[in-house]
Amino acid sequence: MNPQRKRIPKIEPFKHRVEVDPKFFDKSWKKLDDAIREIYNHNASGLSFEELYRTAYNMVLHKHGGRLYDKLAENLKGHLREMGKLVEAAQGGLFLEELQRRWADHIKALQMIRDILMYMDRTFIPSSKKTPVFEHGLELWRDIVVRSPKIHGRLVDTLLELIHRERMGEMINRGLMRNTTKMLMELGSSVYQDDFERPFLEVSASFYSGESQQCIERCDCGEYLKNAEKRLAEESERVSLYMDAKTADKIANVVDKEMLSIHMQRLFLMENSGLVNMLINDKHEDLTRMYDLFKRVPDGHSTIRSLMASHVKETGKILVTDPERLRDPVDFVQRLLNEKDKYDEIVSVSFSNDKTFQNALNASFEHFINLNNRSPEFISLYVDDKLRKGVKGAANEEDIETVLDKVMMLFRYLQEKDVFEKYYKQHLAKRLLSGKTSSDEAERNMLVKLKTECGYQFTSKLESMFTDLKTSQDTMQSFYANLSGDSDGPTISVQILTTGSWPTQPCATCNLPPEILGVSELFRAHYLGTHNGRRLTWQTNMGNADIKATFGDRKHELNVSTYQMCVLMLFNSTDTLTYKEIEQNTAIPPVDLKRCLQSLACVKGKNVLRKEPMSKDISDSDAFHFNDKFSSKLVKVKIGTVVAQKESEPEKQETRHRVEEDRKPQIEAAIVRIMKSRRVLDHNSIVTEVTKQLQARFLPNPVVIKKRIESLIEREFLERDKVDRKLYRYLA
């Protein structure tokens, strides 16, 4: 023996064994395993919850949580495989029902298992980051049953087949559908989406792609849209009945795309039933449907809008450029108004008063109304017509009001508002002087509207016209009050018009008959006596007169113009006069004289003079006789002047020219205003700014602006920059 080998006593550390029973886990698990089997067999009534709970509690307490969890998962898998087999074996229509029944069983069992293992859920699961029992049970169901190769495809196909049958009009068991999709949702939104929603959307897309193809060949636009609307409603109902609410938007998108987006152009442009047809025939219901449906499609509304706009522009252009229509301005404007009413109604009824549609409509009207440069004149004439006679039929204030409002709408579209002002002034002057305004109220109303639209400047002259008339009345009263006594001679009524406010042409005064001259001179004396430092000129081209005439034994009262009166008065002393004599005696300008003689001699039924030779036109060598054979049924005869209501071509040219002249100072003023604040500016900016400033009144032509700038440079208001020739400088 080696003495060095010492026996070192080995001291075993004392180990305190906590766990006494080595089979503790297996015994406990057996208890739980049996219980779970009973639960799946619907035989749970014999189980004691408290005992099972305590068993599971003890297992977790003794650190067997992990093993317990694994065992449980294994156990559940076994049960689920059995259930899966039963579901697979189910035939045909019973498949879904079997699946549903098994699912209900599983959920029920899972709830009870969760109850037993509640303590593990509370303590072991959070610290070990595992899936809680119930959720884990659902995952296993998903993997072992729903996604098993023999069930997965069959389940999706069955669901889609049922939906297809429902789309074709069959009745299906919606409760079963709802329960099945609900099961998929409970398994997690990704299961629902992957296993049902996505294939469902794909199948729906191909279904609707096919249907829309068929439908578009067969139906007209209106019917097609009706069908689309019906399908959308069906799908939304389907979702609400047995799908997840989130699917609603997705399926709606599919239908929108397949039934609407893809066929949008073709639907709109469909011959005899497309958008244009609906617009022409006022198909409000179809248009509403179209508006509502294409709200869902990108570019849907903008396409409708641009199609509508181009249609309005096109028809409008035909309307305003049709020479046939230009003959009757009142009818022309009435047609515009009708058109406007028509589309306003469409926008308000069918397009839910959509602002963008209103704007498109306004832009289109503005476009085509300004295509015809006589529009301002015609609109003024239309107002003239309405205010002169009052609206036909019920001429009450409110009707006039609405007509005026509508006219104002057209007025807003006008680019050349100053041209309108010119004409309106002329027409108003005529109305006022001839006393033919139907209602003072309506006239003033119109003025107020123009004023609110265009500002004080626009109407100040028009307003002063009204004031003039008012003062004239007062003046006449005071004149006749002073003139009391001598009432035998002719009476005159004078209207004193402020120069500048009225559209007067400087005209050579004619020679008035001595009887009239006397009274007028009296008036002149009276007027100048009361008003100091004024000048009074007679505007004989605008007045009118009532004269009494005797033809044989018939007495007639003739209503004639001042010029006509002058001519007729010459025949008091003689029966025959030549054109030359008349011209000499009256000194009426030849154009006016010819016109007035024409109306006295050439109009059938009102020919108080006879002309030699008998022809339509007046020539310098003609002679005129007093026509004592003139007769009329009426005592009072109105001899009209041959005055075109519309302007004649040269007049038009002249008005245009005057407008152009009037614009010049306005443009210049605008340029100076802008340059004064900016000091230095380049050409293009000036043009844009001027256009912006003036567009409320008219649209200035850039060429004209350029000319005005040049003129201002000449007059040394502006100069070109020495370095950069495009720049202008303001010279203070």
């Binding site: 408290e50 029920k108 109850d115 303590y119 610290s127």
Partner: protein
């Protein structure tokens, strides 16, 4: 979810035999526990399919004394524990029945600074000085000591501590009840430290937050931590190559989403206090004396990487020169920042104007310091909760209430020396004392019944 056993059985009366002692109660009382508790499940219809008879009879193999307390809790909503029942036993039994949350809720009321009661003092065992105490949302807390973070659940039982390379911990914060963020200093030449997320329950590391500059991952030393409502995580960072600033990570993915490099004149990388201001969607970053020579506070807008507001105490009058703001907190109304200096004076900064310095409260000296600590000074700290302002001054915490911040309470707990850090959360206030590393837990007792 509670389906009591079908009616008709003795009008819902239930007889329970708990460990030999018989209790009689009603199904309704037990149903108050909720379906997801042991008692709720036991009475559920699915477990009583076969039961018959007038009165339900159950046997529970547990301690009757504790059950009596818990049954009383279910009946009255109040918790009254006889002195002979240890807390741990009661909690264990409550956990068995699934009633632990109710016990916790019955223990203390919503936090009110003026009604606090010292609930416990937990002696510290860790070496080194405590740097921070942070509350968990459920009432637990963690204490950073040197290179470790000690974690306590709400029963103040210690869990497994958390380490990040055993590097000294600068700050810690709970992202949620089970996730703890730790910011640890990088030690020279070791490329350790940084910010990491741990499971508060097991102490395992879950994720390490990286900082990349120009797509290169770099090591860094984090200072303070903060988060916003959308679960972004902010940390003040000092990189090795003067990469100073504030890093931002997504709290869900853990990926870096941005880095606010500190502009010249703004000390951000050194910041020792970060606070997210929800009203203005800005982050307050405060770098205070004595970490820096002068105190600097700024509000940062991360949407356009902009310093919205800033204040610095450089250039204050000489008479005030030795007074430095040593801690700052943004008030809950988001309109001002409260600061405190080493003499415990409170001051306010107006966030609506960028000029204007600190308005120090006149006569705000709370109490004269008994003695100046020779080596280690604990500078005062601030906290806010539900309109109340808290300031730690030496070994006590002062509570200020109302719009004028009137002093309403003073909390003085263990004799563990000055308070080096304190925080409020999970309806509790935790105060960490410097000398013995003991921390005090203050909670609001339930109001008296009458």
């Amino acid at each position: 979810m509670c389906t009591p056993a079908p009616g008709g059985r003795g009008r819902g009366r239930v007889r329970l035999n708990v460990g030999g002692r018989v209790f009689q109660t009603t199904a309704t009382t037990l149903a108050a526990a909720g379906r997801d508790t042991m008692l709720g499940a036991m009475l559920d219809a699915s477990w009583n399919a076969a039961a018959a008879g007038d009165e339900a009879d159950y046997f529970i193999d547990r301690d009757p004394a504790c059950f009596a307390v818990l049954l009383d809790l279910l009946r009255t909503g109040g918790l009254h524990v006889p002195p002979h029942i240890p807390d741990a036993v009661l909690c264990r039994e409550a956990l068995y029945y699934g009633l632990l949350d109710r016990v916790r809720a019955a223990r203390w009321d919503d936090f009110d600074g003026d009604r606090l009661r010292l609930a416990a003092s937990v002696p510290g065992r860790a070496p080194g000085d405590g740097t921070a105490v942070r509350p968990a949302p459920d009432g637990g807390c963690c204490v950073a000591h040197g290179g470790a973070v000690r974690v306590y659940n709400w029963m103040l039982e210690e869990r497994r501590p958390v380490y990040l390379d055993h590097a000294p911990v600068n700050d810690a914060a709970y992202l949620d009840a089970s996730t703890l963020l730790v910011a640890a200093r990088e030690r020279p030449g070791r490329r350790d430290g940084g910010v990491a997320a741990f499971s508060a329950l097991t102490g395992e590391m879950r994720h390490r937050f990286r900082v990349a500059h120009d797509r290169q991952v770099r090591s860094f030393t984090p200072g303070a931590l903060a988060f916003d409502q959308e679960c972004s995580i902010f940390a003040s960072c000092k990189g090795r190559l003067n990469e100073y600033g504030i890093g931002v990570w997504d709290g869900t993915t853990g990926e870096q989403t941005g880095f606010f490099y500190e502009p010249p004149g703004c000390a951000l990388g050194d910041a020792d206090k970060l606070q997210w201001l929800d009203g203005t969607k800005t982050l307050m970053a405060a770098t205070m004396f004595p970490r820096a020579d002068s105190s600097f506070i700024s509000l940062l807008d991360f949407r356009d990487k902009n310093v919205v507001w800033s204040w610095c105490d450089v250039g204050t009058p000489a008479s005030l020169e030795d007074k430095h703001a040593v801690h700052a907190i943004a008030m809950e109304d988001g309109r001002s920042i409260c600061v405190i200096n080493q003499y415990d004076d409170l001051g306010f900064l107006d966030l609506r104007s960028s000029a204007g310095g600190v308005r120090w409260r006149s006569r705000s000296k709370l109490m004269s310091r008994k003695k100046v600590h020779a080596e280690e000074t604990c500078y005062p700290k601030l906290a806010t909760h539900a309109g109340q302002l808290f300031a730690s001054t030496n070994d006590a915490i002062s509570v200020f209430t109302g719009p004028d911040h009137a002093l309403t309470s003073t909390l003085r707990g263990s004799d563990g020396g000055a308070i080096c850090d304190f925080s409020i959360g999970g309806d509790r206030l935790f105060a960490l004392h410097n000398e013995k590393n003991v921390f005090d837990v203050w909670e609001t007792p339930p109001p008296p019944i009458i």
